[in-house]
Symmetry: C5
Subunit: 326 residues, 5 copies
């Protein structure tokens, strides 16, 4: 689906144009065309391939989807795949991270973005770019930066969400009887973390080649901007690694808490078993049928036996309390 198709010159919008007009504008010097597609059919992509002269392999990647994030040079043009990450409620009420894809083709005088499996549009990016003509003058390279910046900025709330989740688990982790829910939360968090990691890490690596030494022609003179994107990605990367490290520790700590929990149950079991078993033993002894058992004939024999039981049990109880078994 064609979302937008606009021609720009000198940082200003020239006109909304039709698909057929693209090739006219692309030929003009200092003019570039910015096209946005949403889940296009093979037909539509084929048309764009012809209009912009896109490389076979890049178009194939854009139409198949399920690429890893990457930035590739095809001659003078760039082909980038970015992952969007969105949080959604599953029917069962849990949060889930969904991955969408944005393929971007950038040439000297065109930008073509192809969105798939994501609701996130780039209207805001277009709006901001049009309000800053002095930046938009940089041409298609700036639009490429603006798109990347936008996608990357949207990772931050996701990351914040994961950090909040980790903190929530950390608060629960030493609370008794929460081990089962903790372990489930830790695993779920790890799953989400991996989704974000798979979106961020390859992109970070690729972005690192857009500034510094030899950079693609299109990105020339915008090094500080792409370094800024890299920097954001690197920050997210470090945060992810930090969470991953804490998660591993948290899982092990949780294992320890489970064992401790069982240990405490065993102690309680042992203590109460003793408290019940001792009177049972005493009662058993006075339940023997020997002819000659002097205590049985005492007037206060029964009271004495019960007293023995109670005294031993009280003594046991306080001893177990003292050693924290109860």
């Amino acid at each position: 689906m064609l979302v937008n198709c606009v021609a720009y010159q000198d940082g200003k919008k020239l006109a909304d144009i039709t698909k057929e007009q693209i090739s006219d504008y692309v030929e003009r010097k200092d003019c570039f065309v910015w096209v946005a597609l949403y889940e296009p059919g093979p037909e539509e992509l084929r048309e764009m391939q012809v209009e912009f002269g896109l490389h076979e392999l890049a178009v194939e990647d854009a139409s198949h989807g399920h690429q890893r994030p990457k930035i590739e040079e095809y001659g003078d043009s760039l082909f980038a795949v970015l992952h969007t990450v969105e949080q959604e409620k599953t029917p069962s009420g849990d949060d889930e991270l969904l991955t969408g894809e944005v393929a971007v083709f950038v040439g000297r005088n065109y930008v073509l973005s192809v969105r798939q499996h994501t609701q996130m549009g780039f209207a805001a990016v277009r709006g901001r770019a049009e309000r800053e003509p002095e930046l938009l003058q940089h041409g298609s390279g700036f639009v490429f930066y603006a798109l990347m910046d936008n996608v990357v900025d949207r990772y931050f709330p996701i990351l914040d969400g994961l950090e909040t989740e980790l903190e929530a688990i950390e608060e629960q982790i030493f609370v008794r009887n929460t081990a089962r829910s903790n372990i489930e939360s830790l695993y779920a968090l790890k799953q989400k973390l991996m989704v974000l990691k798979h979106a961020v890490d390859p992109l970070m690596e690729a972005t690192g080649r857009l500034y510094g030494g030899r950079v693609p022609q299109i990105c020339a003179g915008m090094g500080e901007y792409f370094r800024d994107v890299y920097d954001h990605l690197h920050r997210i990367h470090l945060a992810i690694e930090g969470i991953r490290d804490m998660l591993t520790t948290a899982i092990q700590v949780n294992l320890g808490m489970i064992s401790l929990g069982e240990s405490e149950v065993t102690k309680k079991l042992a203590a109460w078993a003793a408290i019940i078993a001792v009177p049972t033993m005493v009662a058993g002894i006075y339940g023997m049928n020997f002819k000659h058992m002097p205590e049985l004939d005492w007037t206060y024999g029964y009271a004495f036996a019960v007293a023995v039981m109670v005294i031993i049990d009280v003594w046991l109880y306080f001893n177990f309390k003292k050693v924290k078994w109860l």
Copy 2:
């Protein structure tokens, strides 16, 4: 076994030729020969070595098998070893991954593929190549790409299978009493993952040297195609690492679930032990043979004793319910 032996010129098939004719065609300029062998004997390989002037060490590798995937330069020619990975049912009904090998010798005007321990043929590759003469014109380098692309594409369904398996285990992992089957599945998945990893990782590394800076002459001008193969391999590599990471976590989580399971059994054991032990103790007390035990003479002594037992047990039962031990 000789599967195929065809001469090509200008992207078009010239003729099916015999082994003896190979040397004639190889000498012609702009003409190349594409030979496919299936589990050849030492004799057959020896013949090919002579026809194409293959290097001693490369032929040795191809005939011994059990190589790691690799791409080596011998002067102007290339020698590649690729692993095929196929899923098979074992007699006991489990899936198993089988590794086969394809050795490929590529020179300026020949391609020789040697398949071993695998049913996967390359008829489809030959068919596709012959239908695309404009690509086949690139010569032996393109055939090499097409063979690699085909082998690598066949890793994807295997990878999908492993991802599906992981998801299936993840759904089971927090279900009670599945720990034993989970742990077996996790280990089996890990084994399969390692098979795929051993096929993919060394090949990825080797493919990375077929584009970009200095590349072998045969691959010149096809950088974007080999980068595409690299990209696919890298994607599989990342997915494998992701599964591996989740597997490690899943195994630890499963350990936690086992401990939790035992903890719950211990709690149940403790609770029921208490519920049975208390009446036994009370009964023991009234089973003592003291002369003077007033309760024994009460008309409702028996009922009273039983009532005491029942009341304590009911109280215990609900308390244990409340703290989730039952």
Copy 3:
């Protein structure tokens, strides 16, 4: 909030100046201005941006905060983000590490430091710099070094604190019944360690580019000083990794101690169960109501039965003692 604004020449303080005068002094050759801000509003930062001609993206980073530590070149000037780490008591009496941020803009003839979320001022740095005119003569590069040195030096007491904490835990780890508090301490230590690690590691990496090969103009001729800062950071980095490694081991060892603890409880439980169960069994036997039980009629039958019980129990007790179950 403007903390300080001073102009220097030839290593000596010229004058405290107002914000408006900055541009005058910055234009003078061999003169530089050193400005310190504390949690400035967007207004204040905007002014500074104009006075010093700071880059848009750097100013944005300084005002947003929550950057990772980094050192970036913008043309001839540098932009650095440093993390301060301070120990604070939480209301619940635990120690906590708080992260603050210092953004530093350094140009040929200005230094602008922007402190956020931290009480740590740089009065001491200014004082020391003013007392060493021969060093201050190096200009803004030296001030930059002095600021970094000061921030990094303040990591050492934090690190010492963490090492002391680890030692305290190590002394407790093999003591019985401390597993729960140990595991909590280990996790808390890990959390603090990660805070320090996130401050140190990225900064170390960045500092490594300030000496040796190609260095930013501003740092030229001060290589040994920046190498010294790098060296300190590297030392902290190694110490952190060492603690991290020991922590992992300590957590596993603690898990072992928990299991051992439970094992010992189980042994005790088993031993006492036997000691109580045997007399109960004997008593049960002599509590049977058979007509013909010769022992029941013996004069010393009761004494005999009790003796049997006691002898078996004493024997059991010493045996359990011998095998360390008691």
Copy 4:
């Protein structure tokens, strides 16, 4: 002990010579001497040092032994240390890996091998070399290759042995009641793996510098041969890492099986405890000495009580069977 001392020219054996003659032959152009020592005394090594002009430090390394595998250049000559690995039965019937050492000094016209702590000789290498004069013509560099190739080829059966051992353990790992022997086998396998790893990894690294870019003069023109050795070492390296990875998983899985095993014992214990405790409780109740217990006077009271016990127990038994506790 001098094993062999032979002079070669143009790929053909000239003569067996004495130690004293070495210097004569070494001076001749196109002639080289190949000496093999077995556990030489310091005297013998000293002689060789003089004959061949070996470097002090290299001779020291060869006589001390216990070096890590390495390949070092001393001017135009090479000094290599290789580890041999042999499997031996210990008196207690277990397999053990023993490490021996081969130090090789290679100059333009000599090869000196010094074997220590190993029975493996190089007679086969010498035989093969003498049968292939066209290769032996390459001179001392080829002999060096042949020695390395021989040592490396002998790692493969060791590796196969370790893989077979892992498979044997994997078959046992999910079998009940094998945890103790599994854990011992896993540890023993890990120990052997480390022995092989210490032989292979440093050598692989060193061999990687014998082909490709700048190579020592002696190895010039033989790049494909040394790459082949590297390739074998890399294959073993990958296999070792694979086994190491599976071992780690296997140890964790085994831990899980131990916990599962205990869990099952606990369940059985709990089930049988219930089955025995219930009749005991019932019996206890009817063993009370209340005057008024109507059941005691029933004609079938006893039968009734026993029936109650049996019915409850049968019910319990089948329930425990159903939930797999028995």
Copy 5:
């Protein structure tokens, strides 16, 4: 404390000189001064700084101590920090590794060593150097090598000690009831290992820059010697990593043994519980007070009951023996 102060020329000792004479000798061509200090006061260091013209930052490092091992260039001179590692008995009889520091300043014509927190002197190094004038002729660079070599050689007995300790633990690890002492030994070994690792790893890295490509002027022409030191450090490094790896495995295996141990206790507990509980149940049944219990009146009723108990118990005992629960 000044330990030694000697001037050398052409590999021979000229004279013991006083501190004041140093500057005279340092000015002479081909002459160098070798000074050894032991825990000097700030005064003494200040003097040396003046005599030799040492860099401020290096002197600061030498006087503060607690540096990581490193080798730094200051112009033409080198500054090195080495860690000595000594084994000491603690009052409680355990071994402990103590770290000392040696700072070495090396210039074209001086060597200054500053020892701290260590008893290890360098008299032996001086003696050896003076006995080998042909090596001492190399000047200060050779002394530097000799000092490093000496420090590094002293790591080997420490390493051997750790390897012996690991072997001792490995022999204990599968012995029953040693888990607690094993776990303590493993942790103590890990602690010592980290001490050695912190001494070795950074030094290895630094030494790697003293041979091969661009080396400091002072070390020129001595590449093989410094490579030898590097080689020793690398060997120790690999051994440490090997021990670390085995330690991790050993700790996990020990965890497994603890669980197995508990499992065995639980089995024993279960078995004996059954053996005691069954007679108790039987006795309970014949202790019931039913009027009509035919067995009670049998002449051999009692013998029969006891026989039933014994038979069941014998049967249980052998069954438990068979399944290895006893």
